[in-house]
Symmetry: C2
Subunit: 448 residues, 2 copies
């Protein structure tokens, strides 16, 4: 059952589409997982993907719709009637259904929702659409199994059978009181191991971790990871159970966040993939290059103020000084950004953190300085020159380390994404400051 | 029940430890989740952590042991007797138990395992220890619920009750044939909704995604994420069911991988946290700085060959050229590395990929070149000079983009981690090549 997407498979599918070999496509679609079909559709030309999609069975078509890349999905939706979209929504969990139509216009949403057959499903979707996309409410599904504290296990099993028809995966059984307030959970294991006459209130577990609907999706994901949860109940302001987030959505949040931080650190401003078109790729990358360009121009100005023609050999090491400042700054800021993202920074004071960073910088800077002293002395046979460069390098490394530590911490304090501080921003800032420090020290040591 | 680790809480706990207020510590430990206690122990001084740990109830102590940071855990283990460690292992799932003792010496392992009371548990741990740490076998647990194809649901429930005593979370019920070969799964929902006389063979689902024990842990995690699985069965070479990987472990793999790539891109070579000591932090960062330093020295050599004193103003823009090459290279390589990690690169040919990258580079390079042409002409009022810089910048950007695309793809082809190509490596290489291109073009345009 091992599936691998490769050029041959894509070519095979394309061939079936071109020869309108419906039978082969349908047989194929019953043999692989819907996530695989979605991956294939994302790779095909749109018209081919549409042809294949229209052949799919209703229930897998819905799953595939939610899994497709956004641009493919939106194009498909724009060609489906409201009735057809409504039918797909009926086959999805409430959270996926809400995601599928989230980007439609208000008018279209209304029209589609009015045609959803299952009225409970329609009302669940309306509910879910009211929460912010980046909150627990926006992640959660309404489908869950809940039992009342006062029930016997016999009644539980009977009622759970009814509820289970709506719920694809039963992970946790939530226990609520008569006001729908979340009181705890009951494990399936306990249910399996206890007699039918036992009351829920006798065996349920009162320790339950829940989040409010307004909790940010990052906090939801970190909470689920920390406590090893596969489902996390979501409550309203009165602690009433209103939904649950499942681990698959939390995993996607964690991956997305990690990708975003990585892209920021690499100087890419939008969430892009290599398969995006040239326009998108250009737009995501140009802003950071312009920042770098501005830094370079400032650097040139700084060197211009300094009488470079008389001390041309100093210019030889300007790129080195600038680059080292950038490298050290990126290292320091990356450690902070990662600590903030994973909530693993620990609780030491700012001054202790800076002292530690200072030590690391002094050791690394010391080693690099010693090397550059030897190399530059060997190259130019000029002690003052070698001194200048090595002292400047040490200062630049220490400055960059402290600066790289402080900036993301400050941004985070003011609720700005600290990842902004990494990559081109910190590199460029350190390039400029590094050149300032270099030439200031040179002026002081060589020219006086 | 919202738990937040802050300085006040740590101070409070420290106070309780110092005043030997055992009662307060024990009460506190029953009120919060064990993952929270582990987080607190990681923050405390070792002796305080040890004092608190020894007060904990057996079953949570075991969970905490597996959750602690490695250095704290190893120190604790070194002070526990084999008997005590064995007792903790009895309270853990087999995979966690194997992880806890994985770093002990062979001799210690043997001694501990000989004292584990539950002989099945001991043999499971021995089994698990035989798999590579980075494979599905190393991630999986032996605890799972499995039923035979030939059973009735009545028998299933009876047998599952027995098995459930050993299994903390029942996610999926695996169906095997008389040779223990994995045949499919049965959903709890189907079990709840069907009559007791139904046979497993009538209602089980034959589509099941599984992995071999030797599958890499990255593939396990990506498979679970793609197919939205909370548990993934692991089979041996004869397709016999031997264990299952649960989503919490897969989530940790995904996070670890993302962190590793991020650290590589930031020039950090080991998996470090800001709470690590100065020695570890220094060691993880120095190698990349030395690469940068080497690049800078090479750059200085290149500039030295060129008669810099006669064209000192060219040197003003050397840091800019080097920095832009680095920035573009990082962007290009990051897109490839991320595509490879998430398996989202798509299936286009190398020449198509390079053509696309070339277009992006030409647009971004064109914009940057135009700006630098205007700025440098305005600064120096010298057309040839402005031409030189802008043409060189365009060439450097195009070169860096193609180089940044090719290197990670090549590394990946030879099974080397493509993330190695990001960060300081690509920046430094592009710094050097950038300066070469710059001065070569200058020589050609200005000096002939």
């Amino acid at each position: 059952m091992k599936f691998e997407l490769n050029k041959d498979l894509i070519a095979q599918i394309q061939d079936w589409v071109e020869t309108e070999n419906r039978e082969a496509l349908i047989t194929f679609s019953t043999q692989v997982h819907w996530a695989d079909i979605a991956e294939i559709l994302d790779e095909l030309h749109y018209d081919d993907a549409k042809f294949f999609f229209e052949l799919l069975e209703e229930d897998i078509a819905a799953d595939i719709l939610k899994e497709l890349e956004e641009d493919v999905r939106e194009r498909l939706l724009s060609e489906l009637s409201s009735k057809e979209i409504a039918e797909h929504l009926d086959n999805l969990d409430s959270d996926d259904a809400a995601d599928v139509i989230a980007h439609l216009s208000e008018e279209q949403k209304e029209e589609v929702l009015s045609q959803v057959e299952d009225i409970d499903q329609a009302s669940d979707i309306v509910d879910l659409l009211s929460y912010g996309e980046d909150t627990a409410g926006g992640l959660m599904a309404k489908e869950l199994i809940h039992v009342y504290k006062s029930w016997s296990l016999l009644r539980c099993v009977r009622e759970m059978r009814k509820q289970a028809e709506e719920v694809e995966h039963v992970y946790t059984i939530y226990v609520v009181d008569e006001n729908e307030v979340l009181c705890g959970t009951m494990s399936l294991k306990r249910l399996l191991l206890s007699s039918e006459r036992t009351l829920v209130s006798e065996i349920f577990n009162e320790k339950v971790i829940s989040v409010k609907a307004s909790t940010s999706k990052e906090d939801v994901a970190i909470t689920m990871q920390k406590y090893d949860l596969v489902a996390l109940p979501v409550v309203d302001e009165l602690n009433r159970l209103i939904g649950r987030v499942t681990i698959d959505d939390a995993v996607d949040v964690l991956t997305e966040e990690a990708e975003k931080d990585y892209q920021m650190a690499s100087g890419i401003s939008e969430n892009i993939e290599s398969s995006d078109n040239v326009g998108v790729l250009t737009r995501a990358r140009l802003p950071w290059l312009l920042i770098g360009l501005l830094g370079g121009i400032l650097g040139a100005q700084i060197m211009g103020y300094f009488d470079i023609e008389k001390n041309a050999q100093l210019a030889l090491f300007a790129p080195l000084i600038a680059a080292m400042g950038g490298n050290v700054g990126v290292q320091s800021s990356a450690i902070i950004v990662q600590g903030l993202a994973g909530n693993t920074l620990g609780h030491i004071t700012l001054s202790k953190r800076l002292t530690k960073e200072l030590f690391v910088a002094l050791i690394n800077g010391g080693v690099c300085s010693a090397i550059i002293f030897a190399v530059s002395f060997f190259m130019k046979d000029n002690l003052a020159f070698a001194q200048t460069i090595s002292i400047a390098l040490l200062c630049v490394i220490v400055f960059a380390a402290l600066f790289g530590t402080l900036i993301p911490l400050s941004l985070n304090k003011y609720k700005i994404d600290p990842a902004l501080a990494t990559g081109p921003f910190i590199t460029t800032a350190n390039d400029v400051f590094g050149l300032c420090i270099y030439f200031y020290i040179a002026q002081w040591l060589l020219l006086t």
